[in-house]
């Protein structure tokens, strides 16, 4: 909402205040002033008359002018405007003048002295949308009677106005009316407000009828006004409209817009003689085509509010009038409509057909339903004043709304309690009265009647807001709440997650954040921790962001891809994020390692591989207090083109699949434009819900342990884990088996690997003898040979 400061000044005593001060006060009390713009700016201007206009001797388009500047005498000015001519009255920016874009200096243009500049309105900073092409192409042509030598040029032009741009929040739709802005400013500064007196005119009986069959229209009023004459608006009217960002058209249209600006009530005007019958009925059940005054045809749907006459649509309510009954320069008799439409249907219609207007905006925000008769009177007065209106009929009314003023009971303790203040009763009463509320005080109990235009106020909490927004939040003291002591802090689940994140960060992984929305295709790939049906948006912005991701794999690989394409050759990172599907809500941990591991200078870089991510997985489980007996790995059996079928493991806890990790499939690497990458995706919700057994202290052994290293030839079909279990099972003295070398190639037969393992033997009762150790090792070797076909390497 744009406010003309000149208009405001006329109706509120703003003596001693600057537009900036007014703007700041409005902003602090809830109506943010987003911008303050001067319609035009320029000092050291004067109205001049071109006495001579000769072509420049050294140019085919410049003129050399002699300009009479009144008391400043006659100056020579070189001017390039095509419309410069002898006798023209012009705006001259004298030497030293500061315009929005330039400062005028005495100069020599192609050998000719030039002292000043003849200006266009554009050069004074006037927005081009208010100017004709002709005005924009040359210098401004002032009327023949413009006073030469006048220095208040902006005042003379009506361009000395300042526009306050109000950015209104939904709770103050009343401020879409200039009258209410004036009251607000008056209240804030405790200044006198003078609104225009509205003259009453004698009214004729009316045979016009109005009505509504639609729930969306509970109030409809109309007045027939005869004998209007269409002509240009007077300057004061076009100036107020210009300041508010509305282009002046003619007196009738301008009056409609001005009344709306003034009162917040959108008006509609019909050519009375073009209506099929003398009645207007609002309906919401019309279908078919509607030909609007912009020449376009719009389809009507059930639910659209339509003002009809004789069964035909005359106006798409609040949005646009029909072509057949629009007011034009030949119109004599008009019907003025002031109605109340609910915001919802207007918004639906306006959104559907893509048309919005100052009117539809006001209906959507909510208008004051209690002033239709007043609005009709204002309109009549203006039509009488500016459009030579003749006979005026009485207002015909359809009204099903309640118009009682809202009354709120509250008391001082409530207000001060909510604010934490200790305002005396007199201050509170005076403040509410300033704010146009009627207040009756009985001791500290208040009965408050809300002004009809404040449709946002309907409870006692609202009144506390009124008090403090007017008095200022600087009056609120700062007091910490008293709270009962209790055990708070993160839950064990939250702590576990936070520590897990820190664990990964200290392992050197970066923590990333990615978007939740992705495409359907991106979501079906990698969907191995199958939670259920995807959430698909009904109103996506693009197909690339259409569904809520069911996994993190794609997002993280995209991060790898993004970085790899920006010279970040390797990376190790993770994300913890919620995952939502219709089947379940969970939280996942995803890790991607790509490119080469960091290597010391002189050592060759090695790509991250399966065992790097496995190492991280092992450390995660250990840090959570879950030893390797609490989960197991199984070979990949899910197929697909995403994971390497022979370098991927699934992590199970009992029957529950917790997640998977492994090397990316070559086809997936290609898709993400990566050379190498490993991936983990883990259902954190499942992982962190596994019960952890309490710690039971171990006693370090009393007697020394013995280690024996064995190099075994093991068939490739046998896993290390199977060998390890077999060796451990062979003799109770064997307490630990660890692999320390793996070799294939020369000297190792086809179908075998050479695996070196270290056995730890220990008795808790004595120091072991050589013979006891040898016997246990022999049992282990026999078991490995018999059960697994492994033998000592010679």
């Amino acid at each position: 909402m744009n406010i003309s400061y000149n208009w405001l000044k006329k109706h509120v005593d703003l003596e001693g205040l600057t537009p900036e001060e007014v703007a700041s006060r409005l902003t602090f009390s809830g109506a943010e002033v987003e911008g303050i713009s001067y319609l035009a700016k320029g000092a050291n201007l004067v109205i001049g008359e071109i006495l001579e206009c000769e072509p420049h001797p050294d140019s085919d388009h410049l003129h050399v002018l002699k300009v009479d500047e009144g008391k400043y005498g006659v100056e020579q000015i070189v001017c390039g405007a095509p419309n410069a001519r002898k006798g023209l009255k012009v705006i001259v920016a004298r030497v030293g003048a500061k315009l929005p874009e330039v400062e005028i200096k005495a100069s020599r243009i192609r050998g000719v002295d030039s002292n000043g500049m003849c200006c266009s309105l554009l050069e004074l900073g006037v927005d081009g949308k208010f100017l004709s092409d002709y005005q924009k192409a040359g210098i401004e042509e002032l009327p023949a009677d413009a006073p030469v030598g006048e220095e208040d040029v902006l005042g003379y032009l009506g361009l000395d106005d300042v526009v306050l741009e109000l950015s209104l929040l939904p709770n103050r739709p009343d401020l879409y009316a200039l009258n209410n802005v004036a009251k607000e400013v008056g209240c804030l500064f405790q200044r006198k407000v003078t609104l225009d007196e509205i003259q009453d005119y004698p009214l004729q009986k009316s045979s016009f009828t109005v009505g509504s069959n639609a729930e969306g229209c509970p109030l409809f009023t109309a007045r027939v006004i005869k004998g209007v004459v269409t002509k240009p608006s007077p300057r004061w009217l076009s100036e107020v409209l210009t300041a508010s960002g509305i282009r002046s058209i003619n007196n009738i249209v301008d009056i409609g817009n001005f009344v709306m600006l003034l009162t917040g009530q959108p008006l509609n005007m019909y050519d009375a003689d073009k209506l099929p019958e003398p009645s207007l009925i609002v309906r919401d059940d019309l279908e078919g085509d509607f030909k609007a005054m912009d020449g376009q045809t719009y389809p009507l749907r059930k639910g659209d509010l339509v003002v009809t006459s004789g069964g035909r649509g005359m106006c798409l309510a609040g949005v646009m009038t029909a072509d057949e009954c629009k007011v034009d320069e030949n119109t004599k008799n008009i019907v003025v409509e002031a109605a109340y439409f609910y915001g919802a249907p207007i918004r639906h219609t306006s959104n559907r057909i893509g048309l919005s207007s100052d009117s539809s905006l006001r209906f959507c925000k909510g208008i004051n339903p209690h002033q239709a008769e007043y609005v009709q009177r204002v309109t009549t007065a203006l039509l009488k004043l500016l459009a030579e209106a003749g006979e005026v009929e009485e207002t015909v009314v359809y009204d099903t709304m309640a118009h009682e003023r809202k009354v709120i009971n509250t008391n001082l303790a409530y207000i001060n309690g909510r604010l934490g203040t200790s305002f005396p009763i007199d201050t509170v009463v005076a403040t509410l009265r300033r704010d146009n509320f009627e207040v009756e005080a009985d001791g500290e109990d208040l009965t408050v009647t809300v002004p009809s235009f404040r449709i946002d106020v309907d409870g006692k909490a609202d009144l506390t807001e009124e008090v403090i927004r007017i008095l200022g939040y600087e009056h609120v003291p700062s007091v910490l709440p008293n709270v009962e002591l209790s055990l708070t802090g993160l839950t064990p689940r939250q702590t576990a997650e936070r520590e897990l994140r820190r664990h990964l960060l200290h392992l050197g992984l970066d923590e990333v954040v990615t978007y939740t929305l992705q495409s359907k295709a991106e979501s079906t790939a990698f969907d191995y921790l199958d939670h259920g049906e995807l959430y698909v948006l009904s109103n996506p912005m693009t197909v690339e962001r259409e569904v809520v991701r069911p996994h993190l794999a794609h997002s993280l690989l995209s991060v790898a891809s993004y970085n790899a394409n920006r010279q970040n050759k390797s990376g190790a990172f993770f994300e913890v994020s919620d995952i939502d599907t219709k089947g379940c809500s969970s939280r996942h941990l995803g890790i991607v390692l790509y490119g080469d591991k960091p290597a010391r200078v002189g050592n060759k870089g090695k790509a991250y591989d399966f065992y790097d991510i496995k190492g991280i997985v092992t450390s995660i489980f250990e840090s959570l207090g879950l030893n390797e007996n609490r989960y197991r790995l199984e070979s990949w059996n899910k197929g697909g083109d995403e994971m390497h079928p022979y370098q991927t493991a699934m992590i199970y806890c009992g029957k529950k699949l917790l997640g998977y990790f492994g090397t990316l499939h070559p086809l997936a690497l290609k898709k993400y434009d990566l050379k190498s990458a490993v991936l983990l995706e883990l259902d954190l919700e499942e992982l962190l819900s596994i019960k952890v057994s309490p710690i039971k202290a171990s006693v370090p052994p009393k007697f020394p342990s013995v280690t024996r290293d064995l190099a075994l030839l093991v068939p490739t079909t046998v896993t290390y884990e199977a060998l390890r279990r077999e060796l451990l099972r062979a003799d109770p003295l064997i307490v630990k088996v660890e692999a320390f070398d793996l070799y294939t190639g020369e000297g190792v037969g086809e179908g075998y690997v050479s695996l070196a393992v270290s056995l730890t033997l220990l008795s808790k009762d004595k120091t072991l003898s050589e013979a006891e150790v040898n016997l246990a090792v022999k049992k282990a070797l026999d078991a490995a040979a018999v059960k697994l076909g492994a033998r000592m390497r010679q």
Partner: protein, 345 residues
């Protein structure tokens, strides 16, 4: 006799002379063999004892000679060892400017850094953390928060919908509604809810269809704006520095009444005015207010008994201001060259 003592002196002198010519450990070993070993010239003097008349005097002379030579030998040995050690150390010189063994330290997306920091501040104040979900119902995101269908403030937030009832939450305030309505006994609440929120915005430097907020809620008897002000002052000082002040401006949110915007004195210029605060000395950091009695009521709290305050902090905005981040999309690109500035603590 004199002659014998003389011979001891000569042997001593010869040994010391030979020792003075020793320059390395090999020569020192040879010296030891020639002069101090069993068959060396100094112990060899003892063989002359039987010829001595004054055995005591001769013995003393030999002992003196041996003690002196041994002492000189030991000191020479120590000097040579030190020299050898120094030589070895010099050979072991390395370039200390070469990089160390890669021991990577993870980096945190500044978005998470801010969430963790704000969370810690409120944990210290005794708040609990309730997170809520991204996919919400219309009821919790709007209805319970005093935004009924067709309420004008739904215009403020263009929402991603899944059918009619499910949506991506447009604000973490939805977590408020959950917490309040799910409290079995309607007891006091102090909670924050960090999380993601979504609006149908085109992504550009300052807009993102996905962003993070931290919602805060306190419900108790007799809670007032004064409590909100003190709490947010404490927060601003912890977050932006002890000298910071805050100011409240009247605003509007459907779920609070009164509603305020909270500005913090500019942490760049200290309030004098600079490009960061657009010359005003103040920076808008969050929205807050007293919980609207209708919200309390809808969530099962009696507004005649309980009151509360709520606030919402924009995570990316705080991070952008704090670190001077130019573009909100950086948070979601995760370029390592951007993340490198935020190592884990």
């Amino acid at each position: 006799m004199k002659n014998l003592i003389e011979r001891a002196h000569v042997a001593r002198a010869a040994a010391l002379d030979a020792l003075s010519k020793v320059i390395d450990e090999k020569a020192l070993e040879d010296f030891y063999v020639s002069f101090l070993a069993k068959k060396g010239s100094i112990p060899g003097l003892m063989a002359l004892m039987k010829e001595a008349e004054d055995k005591a005097a001769f013995g003393a002379a030999v002992n003196k000679a041996r003690t002196e030579v041994v002492a000189a030998y030991e000191s020479k040995k120590a000097a040579l060892a030190e020299k050898a050690l120094n030589l070895r150390l010099a050979r072991e010189k390395i370039d200390i400017t070469l990089p160390g063994e890669p021991t990577p330290l993870g980096h945190v997306n500044p978005y998470r850094l801010i969430i963790d920091e704000v969370t810690d501040i409120f944990l210290e104040m005794g708040y609990e953390v309730c997170e809520g979900r991204d996919v919400e119902t219309d009821k919790f995101n709007f209805e319970l928060l005093n935004v009924p269908k067709d309420h004008p403030s739904r215009d403020m937030q263009d929402t991603f919908y899944f059918g009619d009832d499910y949506l991506l939450r447009t604000q973490t305030s939805a977590a408020q509604a959950h917490k309040m309505s799910e409290m079995e006994e309607k007891k006091p609440i102090r909670m924050i809810a960090p999380g993601k929120a979504y609006r149908r915005d085109d992504d550009d430097m300052t807009h993102s269809h996905q962003f993070a907020q931290i919602e805060g809620l306190v419900v108790d008897k007799d809670i007032s704006i004064a409590h909100l002000k003190a709490t947010l002052e404490l927060f601003a000082k912890k977050m932006f520095g002890q000298k910071r002040e805050i100011r409240l401006r009247s605003s509007y949110f459907p779920f609070t009444e009164p509603s305020v915007e909270v500005d913090v004195s500019c942490f760049n210029c200290g309030g004098k005015g600079c490009p960061m605060c657009k010359g005003t000395g103040w920076i808008e950091i969050l929205g807050a207010g007293m919980v609207n009695p209708r919200v309390l009521e809808a969530c099962g709290y009696d507004p005649e008994v309980y009151s509360g305050f709520a606030f919402g902090v924009g995570v990316e905005r705080v991070a952008m201001l704090r670190y001077g981040i130019d573009d909100i999309r950086r948070f979601y690109q995760n370029d390592f060259r951007f993340l490198k500035d935020y190592p884990v603590k």
